[in-house]
Symmetry: C2
Subunit: 131 residues, 2 copies
DNA sequence: GTTGAGCTTCCCATGATGGGAAGATTTAGC
DNA sequence: GCTAAATCTTCCCATCATGGGAAGCTCAAC
């Protein structure tokens, strides 16, 4: 299977497949005589794994660890869970940060009449005196 | 005021002040005889503005627009509000995405016993058959 | 007057993704 | 069988905001 077909089958772009290989996340695949990369079902399976983990927001480093655990038939599920719990906390923190921003901004937006007049609580807040 | 003092006074690092200048967000400041950048209160004021806008998650491009509106005494508040509303929608979308990830992950974490045994719903989900 | 702190510019790195060029090869249409 | 289009290869560059660090100049303090 060429890289294009593997991309199609896994939902990971060819560009990204090469990239994951370049950063060592994936082992170099077999090559055909024409130097084209050659993938089989197991490789596509790993690619799909990576794609799913990305969709859950895991970083490349975390995915590397997850892949290693996945390949290790005897891994303790504790390690997987710990990794996931840490990532979950990270997600929650990012959500909290964004929510803080959104809350402040929503309040400002609500106070701004938003017409042709120049006075604007949003700019006042941004340019206001140091608190 | 040297760049270090301006950084101190505004809460924006010297590194970032130079960067904002380099990308054209800020006009080149006055220079002393020793070629040191020289800042006054107005410049520090703008830097604080930028810092606050960053804390609300605005992009550099958006901050450029906000700065232009701020400098324009006759701007219609409508434009400021529109910009803020758009950014707010962007924030909400990012929050929704992260929440989706967190919800899925939380569910998986809950299902994983997380002990010495190797079976793990988290890895099962990531490596499962295409849905 | 030496030393340490602060300033200058310039280059490089991050993390995940993509665009695009130049060149080789395969595939499809006729 | 020939030509054109698609696909592959590698390599470089861009994003976005931030920072690290080097090499060299300048300033302040003791």
């Amino acid at each position: 299977m060429n890289i294009g077909a593997a991309a199609q089958a896994s939902g990971v772009s060819a560009k990204m497949i090469r990239h994951y290989e370049a950063i060592g996340l994936l082992p170099p695949p077999a090559r055909r005589d024409n130097s084209y990369r050659d993938y089989g079902e197991p490789e596509v399976h790993e690619l799909r794994f990576i794609g799913r983990a990305r969709k859950l927001g895991f970083s490349m480093a975390e995915i590397g660890a997850l892949l290693a655990l996945w390949r290790d038939r005897g891994r303790p599920s504790r390690e997987v869970r710990q990794l996931a719990v840490r990532h979950l906390a990270d997600l929650e923190q990012r959500i909290a940060e964004l929510r803080g921003m959104a809350a402040t901004l929503a309040q400002l937006v609500e106070c701004c009449h938003g017409d042709a007049r120049p006075d604007c609580p949003i700019l006042d807040e941004l340019g206001g005196a140091p608190r």
